[in-house]
């Protein structure tokens, strides 16, 4: 892709694909939004940990093999053991800057609502910011790194799905 507007369009597409995958609980589709390089990563942590300089995360998939394992956790290991819930992601891009090698650093605000299937009552699961490194490839944009940093420091329940 040549122009910034093409890149911006590809970035919106991959962000939308990410949201659609999670909100439809389609974990292979979630995995497909990541670049296939070995060091592609998904990180979920809290602003509290970040501000204290504490490296611990809620989810830390720091290589492509672990992204695949995240799918296995949800589809094989945990299947049938938890009260399920549906998520609804609301994402707003707030900054986008070109980085090296046809990559972009993209910042977006997010809110994730959840609706447990048994209560049917919707609430906020977490809000925060995505700090993404996105590569533009011949077949579209992919996440090299997706890092979700939550303002929410005390989660209202367990987390099955990535945010």
């Amino acid at each position: 892709m040549s122009s910034d507007s093409d890149a911006q369009s590809a970035i919106v597409d991959v962000q939308n694909a990410y949201i659609e995958a999670l909100d439809n609980k389609d974990m292979p589709a979630w995995l497909a939004t990541f670049d296939e390089r070995d060091d592609a990563s998904y990180i979920l942590t809290t602003r509290d940990n970040e501000q204290q300089g504490l490296p611990l995360c809620l989810m830390l998939d720091d290589c492509h093999a672990r992204l695949k394992d995240r799918v296995t956790y949800i589809t094989k290991i945990w299947a049938g053991t938890f009260q399920d819930y549906r998520t609804r992601h609301v994402v707003q891009q707030v900054a986008c800057a070109a980085a090296a090698d046809n990559q972009y650093d993209v910042r977006s605000n997010f809110s994730v609502f959840y609706t447990p299937s048994d209560t049917g009552q919707s609430s906020l699961l977490a809000c925060g910011v995505y700090l993404d490194r996105i590569a533009i490839t011949p077949t579209g944009a992919r996440f090299v790194t997706k890092k979700a940093v939550t303002d929410t420091s005390v989660m209202p329940q367990y987390l099955v799905y990535p945010l």
Partner: protein, 395 residues
């Protein structure tokens, strides 16, 4: 403090393995628990000194509804204060953590050192006759420590911490890497929609059944033991873990590797009365500081640590493993978190719950447990019943 247990109208079953479900759901019983247990003659872990490693570091926490401020002073001593100004009771520090040279109450600008001494108070000359600053430090509950784990109690009648912990001490030490020389690597915080007693009522029976990861990674079959202390019913699990056989299940087996040396391969779990849990699983060192917020809300701060002697590689490994193994979205614990909610829903039905696995005599408390028995929880329930003053039915 004494409560009128008869007021509750609760009849405790004669069988030792039965627990009345209403203790999990009645708000009036929760209020009694605050008085009898959380503000009574028990010790409560509120921090590990490794969470606040530098002078001036502090964290805030709660014991039931009582706000606490825990700070490391210049003398490196970690002190626990009631988080309330000695003047009019205003909450002194609102931040969950930080580093400060002193604590200032914003209401009338009373200023306290990080050792709790009152060092400044405007218009002091107009105070009551005989006022002296030294009589107005931040107040401290009775405090003691075990290998850096900081305990408080609100009662003068609580036996010394050493006696409270009793035979659980060696296992608790092993859960804290042997000597408690720990440094914080971060938190996972969550509020479970469950009663505090359901949160800490997990058992040895469920692990291989609920957690499919144990089957898929072939983690079963290691030798181990479960024991409970005669007083208080603290529970200890010591398990050898067979090395996980990842097979085709995981693409990255490094997450379940064991790289440490002490204690030998495996897992230690300690549950102290009333509901503190310390876990050392593979190379993950996890202390769970919990707050009973209400009858149906339990907030848990999973704090993770590395050992001070770890090299960089081991620290990195602990960070990766700790970020993926236990806690509210961990490989072998997310299911527990979900069960906490479901148990609480089910506990609103009438009647009693019954422990079965390992029960040999329903009228006699046993201290002989197999690793996967659920009877290890019964001494703690008996301590709970006695402290709460619930009379056991004789029929």
């Amino acid at each position: 403090m004494h409560i009128d247990a008869a007021r509750t109208g609760l009849v405790w079953p004669a069988n030792l393995n039965e627990i009345p479900k209403e203790v999990f759901t009645r708000a009036d019983i929760f209020d009694d628990e605050l008085k009898q247990i959380f503000y009574g003659a028990e010790w409560h872990p509120v921090a590990h000194v490794g969470e606040i490693p530098n002078p001036g570091d502090f964290k805030t926490f709660s014991l039931g509804e009582i706000p606490l401020l825990i700070a490391r002073a210049k003398d490196n001593e970690v002190r626990v204060f009631y988080n309330a100004c000695s003047h009019r009771g205003n909450q002194v520090e609102a931040a969950p953590y930080g580093n400060k040279r002193e604590f200032e109450c914003p209401y009338h600008r009373w200023l306290f050192g990080i050792d709790g001494d009152l060092v400044g108070c405007p218009s002091e000359r107009e105070f009551s006759p005989g006022f002296e600053r030294k009589n107005y430090p931040l107040k401290q509950p009775r405090t003691d420590k075990f290998q850096g784990l900081v305990f408080i109690t609100l009662s003068d009648e609580t036996p010394p911490l050493k006696d409270f912990l009793g035979d659980i001490r060696p296992t608790l030490a092993e859960a804290m890497a042997g000597d408690g020389r720990l440094k914080l690597i971060g938190y996972q915080r969550v509020k479970y929609k469950t009663n505090w007693k359901a949160y800490c009522d997990n058992d040895g029976y469920h692990a291989p059944l609920l957690h499919r990861a144990f089957q898929l990674l072939n983690w079963q079959g290691g030798t181990g033991r479960q024991f409970a202390t005669r007083e208080y019913g603290h529970i200890g699990f010591e398990s050898e873990l067979t090395v996980a056989r990842v097979g085709n299940t995981l693409n990255d087996p490094s997450i379940v590797e064991f790289k440490g040396v002490d204690p030998s391969k495996g897992s230690r779990v300690v549950e102290l009365f009333p509901f503190f849990i310390a876990t050392k699983h593979l190379d993950t060192i996890n202390l769970r500081f919990a707050i009973a917020r209400s009858v149906d809300e339990t907030e848990v701060h999973y704090a993770y640590f590395h050992h001070l002697d770890d090299d960089d590689e081991l620290v990195r490994h602990r960070i990766r493993q700790s970020s993926n193994l236990l806690g509210p979205c961990g490989l072998v614990s997310m299911e527990d978190a979900s069960v906490f909610h479901r148990v609480h829903i089910g506990n609103h039905t009438p009647g009693t719950v019954a422990f079965q696995k390992g029960v040999t005599d329903t009228r006699k408390l046993s201290f002989q447990f197999k690793q996967n028995d659920e009877t290890g929880n019964l001494p703690r329930w008996e301590h709970y019943r006695r402290v709460m003053g619930f009379e056991r039915s004789t029929t």
